[in-house]
């Protein structure tokens, strides 16, 4: 893959990268650090990517790892009484966002990847390294938790 192709693909998915990192990391500065780290790693390791068509899922997987590494570091550094509030974009829907972030993270990430980003169950399961059955049950549970607020739709395999 050329540098130009790589750039085009990353730019095309930057909104997705923002939403995925926002699902895990409360602070914008950390999301920015994570996305930079993920892009650099993806570029350096692109030789490991056997199929260019899988690049989206692969970059998201790297980003998720970066986010967890940062989150883990922050937890070690931050005292419990100084935990940062979640930062949102000015045009975000704060009530829904608050409700969604109140869900356990194990439901949030699958819901974002499946419902928002439109990946299939198989793709999402691969990204999250989860069995498809586990993923489906998380999506189901996540929908139940939000059912009073949002329209629900069935999982498409």
């Amino acid at each position: 893959m050329t540098q130009a192709e790589f750039t085009d693909r990353i730019v095309a998915m930057q909104d997705t990268l923002y939403r995925v990192s926002t699902t895990i990391l409360p602070q914008l500065c950390d999301r920015e650090d994570a996305v930079q780290g993920a892009i650099e790693k993806a570029w350096r390791k692109q030789g490991k990517l056997r199929d260019d068509r899988a690049m989206h899922a692969w970059v998201i997987r790297i980003l998720i790892n970066e986010c967890y590494t940062l989150l883990r570091r922050r937890k070690r550094e931050t005292l419990s009484d100084t935990l940062p509030e979640r930062e949102t974009a000015p045009d975000a829907l704060p009530d829904l966002y608050e409700l969604f972030t109140s869900l356990d993270e194990k439901y949030r990430l699958p819901m974002v990847l499946y419902y928002v980003e439109g990946y299939s169950v198989e793709e999402t399961a691969r990204m999250l390294k989860l069995p498809q059955g586990t993923l489906k049950s998380r999506l189901h549970r996540g929908r139940l938790l939000l059912k009073d607020t949002l329209d629900v739709e069935e999982v498409r395999a």
Binding site: Q3, R19, R76, T88, A89, A92, K106, R143
Partner: protein
């Protein structure tokens, strides 16, 4: 749902897009040089050449931390020195084992196992977990990523009931480190994790990176703390069953392979010395060297004289804490001493009514004034909050700046705390206390996670006026291990913190010369290139200061010394962005790196 959830996040912020663009720009400057074909060929050649070395590279510690911190860190650890320890200690029904330890760059990284003793039907649980969690699964992600237990997995309490065994809460962590038979010292910070395993054991890890305690040696002594306590199925600790023990582990790490000892260093450019400030004491200018002193361990608890701080009489004495009749408190540790005025109590959970009230001592207004002045000095929560607040007056109600310094210095002399001089002072008159107090109250109200008390600063009176003083003694470390803070009013000292880890003793060695400071920037670059963050760059070095810092004596049996050290203040691009400084401390006698931000 999709549209709702998408809108929920709002637009991608411009700063995020800029960071994406920036990262992509970086990839233009760091092209991937190998084609896939070349990589494959190279990989085969390396495999053929290093087949033996590969087996030696298989390290439990590197693999464990690699899962948490990523491949780069795993590789970095693999270039360290490893010791297969396999030393165990049995405490009650539980066996604690240290399996493997790696030494790398002033740090020790280890993994171990905790398991029920042979023949015991007890179930063990770490104190971060609860009895209703699935047995044998790392659902907290302690090893990097949370595991999902399959439906139907029995809980810890259920397994214990089935086995008819006790539930034992366990903990293991290193609490002190010795090098080559030298003094056992406590590290400033220890990272640990406890990972449940399918077989009911717990794999634990520890990571300590502290150049003042851990330096390169042949043999490391690790003092391990272990604890076992029975817990009910409902999760209640049975404290009268608690057992603790401290045991020691000796290890002699060896390089994992010849290849591992020679990592390919990244190329970190040596920064320009233009604009750099070199700070050296007059003694060095005249003699070209400075002596090394023995460091005598401080113990503030020995011969403590409470009436030096407060004459109202002692109301209560607990472990390391004295409460006076006027509610002021004096507390201490061997290396630190704290005195502060309090009056009354407040509920620390006042912002969360769902929690049970929990009372804590309420600081007096002058104690609060001291905290505000301390915030100005440290720039907390950010420097703009207190912009323009500097020393303005040298005389306040009933006290001058010189009086305040004299009072503090008299007390320091009585405590045998020598060599400290004033590095910062701030006057706090009534108007300043009230205006800063109003700002602080607003910050507390705005931040739901802050729980300091809201005080009525309008009640501040002339008797609350005082000088906030910060004293240093020229010994620099990775934090405030040597520092004095005090708030001095006409009535005396209302708030005091002293941290003084070591007393300077006699001359231990008199080196003929010290490492040339001009070599330090290159040494810093080399250390970063060899660190766990080899991609880091140095944006600028602002100063190199000749100071003192604690270190182990050249003969480890001689304990600790205060050695001359080059303290480098520099910035990497991240620090530049957040307007923060980084540091590195080099031993000025032998040039070794003692401590740094990147460790």
């Amino acid at each position: 749902m999709k549209q709702d959830l998408k809108q929920m996040y709002g637009s991608t912020p411009e700063s995020f897009k800029h960071r994406v663009t920036f990262a992509l720009k970086e990839t233009e400057e760091k092209p991937v040089k190998h084609t896939v074909r070349t990589i494959l060929i190279t990989a085969i050649i390396i495999l053929l050449l290093t087949a033996v070395a590969y087996a030696a590279f298989s390290s439990q510690v590197a693999a464990f931390f690699g899962k948490s911190y990523g491949e780069n860190f795993e590789t970095w650890l693999e270039q360290g020195e490893v010791s297969t320890v396999a030393q165990s200690y049995t405490l009650g029904d539980v066996v604690f084992t240290v399996d493997e330890v790696i030494y790398r760059d002033n740090g020790l990284y280890g993994v171990g196992t905790i398991r029920p003793a042979q023949g015991s039907n007890a179930v063990i649980i770490s104190d971060d977990h609860t009895t209703d969690e699935p047995f044998g699964y790392d659902i907290h992600g302690e090893s990097g990523y949370p595991e999902e237990a399959p439906a139907g997995t029995p809980t810890i309490a259920e397994v214990a009931a089935e086995q008819g065994g006790k539930i034992l809460v366990v903990r293991a962590l290193p609490d002190q480190i010795g090098v080559d038979g030298g003094e056992l010292l406590s590290p400033g910070c220890i990272g640990t994790s406890m990972v449940p395993q399918r077989d009911g054991s717990i794999q634990y890890s520890f990571e300590i990176s502290d150049g003042f305690v851990i330096e390169e040696g042949d043999t490391y002594t690790i003092s391990m703390f272990s604890r076992v306590c029975e817990m009910t199925a409902d999760g209640e600790w049975l404290n009268d069953t608690k057992q603790t023990a401290t045991w020691t582990v000796e290890c002699t790490p060896e390089p994992m392979s010849e290849q591992a000892t020679e990592p390919a260093a990244a190329d970190v450019p040596v920064p320009s010395l233009d604009g750099l400030t070199l700070i050296v004491p007059d003694e060095y200018t005249q003699a070209g060297t400075l002596p090394v002193y023995t460091a005598i361990t401080r113990d503030f608890g020995a011969d403590l004289q409470p009436d030096l701080f407060n004459q109202s009489g002692i109301a209560k004495t607990e472990n390391y804490l004295i409460t006076f009749n006027d509610e002021a408190q004096l507390s201490w540790a061997p290396e630190a001493l704290f005195y502060s005025e309090y009056q009354g109590t407040y509920n620390i959970n006042y912002k969360d009514t769902s929690l049970e009230p929990s009372l804590a001592p309420l600081k007096t207004l002058r104690h609060a004034a001291s905290d505000l002045a301390g915030d100005v000095r440290s720039g907390w929560p950010d420097e703009s909050t207190w912009e323009g607040i500097t020393l303005d007056k040298t005389a306040l109600a009933g006290i001058t700046l010189d009086d305040a310094k004299a009072k503090l210095e008299t007390l320091l002399a009585a405590l045998n705390v020598d060599g400290y001089t004033c590095a910062y002072a701030l006057d706090m008159d009534v108007a300043r206390i009230q205006s800063m107090g109003a700002v602080m109250n607003q910050l507390i109200e705005e931040n739901q996670y802050w729980n300091p008390p809201i005080l009525d600063y309008s009640l501040a009176a002339e008797s609350d006026e005082g000088f906030y003083l910060y004293y240093t003694n020229g010994v620099k470390t990775d934090g405030d291990r040597f520092a004095v803070y005090a708030y001095v009013t006409a009535d005396g000292i209302a708030d005091l913190q002293i941290r003084d880890l070591y007393i300077q003793g006699d001359i231990y060695a008199a080196p003929e010369y010290l490492i040339d400071p001009e070599t330090i920037p290159a040494a810093l670059s080399a250390e970063i290139a060899d660190s766990r963050f080899p991609d880091m760059t140095i944006s600028s070095i602002s100063s190199i200061e000749l100071t003192y810092t604690p270190a182990r004596a050249s003969s480890k049996a001689d304990g600790m010394v205060l050695t001359p050290a080059w303290y480098v203040t520099y910035r990497d691009p991240d620090a530049e962005k957040y307007n923060e400084d980084c540091f590195a401390i080099f031993n000025a006698v032998d040039g070794s790196l003692i401590s740094a931000s990147f460790q």
